[in-house]
């Protein structure tokens, strides 16, 4: 991201911009209009370019904006998570100017919700094996296939989609990245009920879906590289959010511990202290990583953040249920519902425990992330691979 051309954008100028925006008298009661105005003022994501919701400022100054505008209408970061965390950085990096202008504003305000059409029944961790086909037909592409584990597809207006456009080359080379119109004919969304009882994710069937070539993101055949941008951002989005000391999941457990002395045992105490330390060092590592990023030093620590987030969330939510004794035997609500997003803090401990099991699967399994750390950070050799130079169509499936 480039810095401001004329004035150095520092803490102080961002604060002034925020104050000027507040002084302009936008009505916080009209949420959508307020958010649109905030986007237009460049205070949506300050590191984005001017005209696209940003000011071309250093990324860490976003915190200043959030502080200054804390009492105004906020984004729904739950239901908007995929749009904000994955679609937006990918569109920014690979989209045409027209695509950026078309998609980023309604994405940020939440007028248009996004989902991610990546995984397939036969391609999860081995994502590059995916078989959903996109065949060119004049100015359009015709898409056929099936996607799965698609969170939020039921309320999404758009999707980021990876499809196979060439079956005759090895798997990584024959992919192309698209924006998929979820309202197009041939898109069918079916809920998948999860272990929590709700259906936060879906199967998506794509049958003869026609997408204009102006919905392609990046070059034909370059989909894997574009997808890497999405996936790296996904891992930062899942594990990299700043938390205060003792906040997040450890805060929930610690609060129960403090308010319910009758639940305390020595064994639980030892385990809680251990997890509190792990949460604290993980928080510090995240803070250090963000410092590195804003100081312009590329930090390989990013891939590790999601790994530690997943195991911590699982250990803490498990301890939470156990700690509650009799109450841990119950569950808040098994009613089948189509939730908008993950609701760790609005639901009961049983839900948190079960939902956290997904943390080590979604957005790259912990096994895949360990491979990434081992190979790309530590430089260890990859396992021998039989599929590397074989055309996709000849792979056993």
């Amino acid at each position: 991201m480039t810095k401001g051309t004329f004035v150095a954008l520092d803490d102080k100028t961002i604060r002034e911009r925020a104050a000027a925006f507040l002084a302009a008298g936008h009505d916080p009661g009209r949420r959508l209009e307020f958010l649109r105005a905030r986007f237009d003022a460049g205070l949506a994501w300050v590191h984005f370019p001017e005209g696209l919701g940003g000011l071309g400022a250093p990324r860490e100054l976003q915190n200043v904006v959030e502080q200054e505008l804390a009492r105004t209408p906020q984004l729904d970061t739950g239901v908007q998570a995929i749009g904000l965390g994955m679609a937006a950085p990918t569109i920014l990096a690979f989209g045409t100017e027209e695509q950026r202008r078309r998609f980023l504003r309604p994405l940020w305000t939440g007028e248009e919700i996004w989902c991610q059409l990546f995984s397939e029944p036969g391609a999860g961790s081995d994502l590059a094996t995916l078989g959903t086909r996109a065949v060119r037909d004049g100015d359009e592409w015709v898409v056929d296939g099936q996607k799965v584990w698609t969170s939020g597809a039921h309320h999404a207006r758009w999707a980021i989609l990876v499809a196979r456009t060439d079956a005759d080359v090895p798997k990584h080379r024959g992919l192309t990245y698209f924006v998929c119109d979820m309202h197009a004919p041939g898109v069918e969304v079916r809920p998948l009920r999860q272990i929590t009882g709700e259906a936060e994710f879906n199967e998506v069937f794509l049958t003869g879906v026609r997408l204009g070539d102006d919905l392609r993101l990046g070059e034909v055949g370059d989909g894997w590289r574009v997808a890497q941008t999405t996936l790296m951002n996904e891992r930062v989005a899942i594990g990299g959010a700043p938390v205060r000391r003792g906040g997040g999941m450890v805060g929930v457990v610690a609060e129960t511990w403090r308010s319910r002395p009758e639940l305390r045992t020595h064994d639980l105490h030892q385990r809680l202290l251990r997890l509190w330390v792990e949460a604290e060092v993980t928080r510090l590592a995240g803070a250090r990583l963000r410092e590195q990023l804003s100081a312009g030093q590329p930090g390989p620590e990013g891939s590790g953040m999601k790994l530690s987030f997943a195991s911590l969330n699982q250990a803490l939510s498990g301890l939470d249920v156990e700690m509650r004794g009799e109450e841990g035997l119950g569950y808040d609500d098994w009613t089948f519902r189509r939730s908008d997003s993950v609701d760790f803090f609005g639901r009961g401990p049983g839900y948190r425990y079960l939902r956290a099991k997904g943390n080590s699967i979604e957005g790259g399994t912990s096994e895949i992330l360990r491979n990434i750390v081992a190979e790309r950070v530590l430089g260890l050799p990859s396992e021998p691979r039989v599929d590397k130079d074989v055309p996709w169509k000849n792979l056993p499936r």
């Binding site: 030892q270 809680l272 330390v277 060092v281 590592a285 050799p381």
Partner: protein, 366 residues
Amino acid sequence: MTLLYTEVEEELRASVRGLLADRSGPDAVLRRAESAAPYDMDLWKTLSREIGVAGLLVPEEYGGAGASAREVAVVLEELGRAVAPVPFLTSSVLATAALLRVGEEDLIQELASGETTAALAVSLAASPYRPLPETVTVTDRGTLDGAVRAVAGADVADVLLVPVGRALYQVAAEHVQVDVAPSLDLTRPIATVTFSDTPGEAIGSLDVREVLSFGAGLLASEQLGVAEWCLEATLAYIKERHQFARPVGSFQAIKHRMADLWLDVVRARAAARNAADLLAAVPYGAAAVEAVEAGELAAAVAKSWCSEVAVRVAEESVQLHGGIGMTWEHPVHLYLKRAKSTEIAFGAPGAHRDALAVLADLPAPV
């Protein structure tokens, strides 16, 4: 305040690392550990004279560098990476921190130059969270009687600083008996220090537990250095070592263990840096209660985490080196021994976690 290293800190690191690479490679450390004089006092004089490490904590008006816990932590990282047998932790960190609290200017100046070496006469295993055992008493004549076991750095100390109750006594080394017994850590041996009608001078009042907490928080940086060396040495080895016609490091079972160790070390670095940063923010003597507590909490977090990480990485390093890891000739055992003994030093991990019950408001069961 930052969790990154400043340019000045990186320059300090480069100087220390360069000197240690020349003078204190693994073979040299091992030869010395087997000799009658495990400490390398020539190396220590060079570190003090050329780089000024001995006076880092000492204000400039007393002939020191006027630096802080942050720079001390960087030196400790490098000394840990080299398991360097020098009395930096015992003399320039622990004894100096005690003297700075007491305000003993003459001795501080001598320590700052590195020409005189001191040791705080407490057990290396002493915990910041419980009173010291009262094994030394003051006689009617004002002399000291008794003994302190497991004191690190005593055998090379010119001066011993002896806490008796809340008083700190200064004792010349020639008046005490120092018995070094075989130690688990070959590169930082411990000794029993015996006082027998020993003349000493009371130099002030000291809460030794504050000094131990400070020492624990900074020892985390040494442990980080130990862990980093073990991780890097192991990585290099498993990339080279072939079995089943492949590098051992290409097997997923090994790679996943390495990824987990790396993540532990990444978090150890953040924890150690945070402790150094917050301890640097607390000046000696009067400081805001919140700042003192923040430093204590950061020290407890860093020492509990880094202790376990250093031991885990060292143990895994031995395992992943296979047979060679069990040999005397390969230096990894020096690191395992350092890791395991620093795990105990200044409070074992569990003691620091227990302290968090109060510091982080996570009360124990009644």
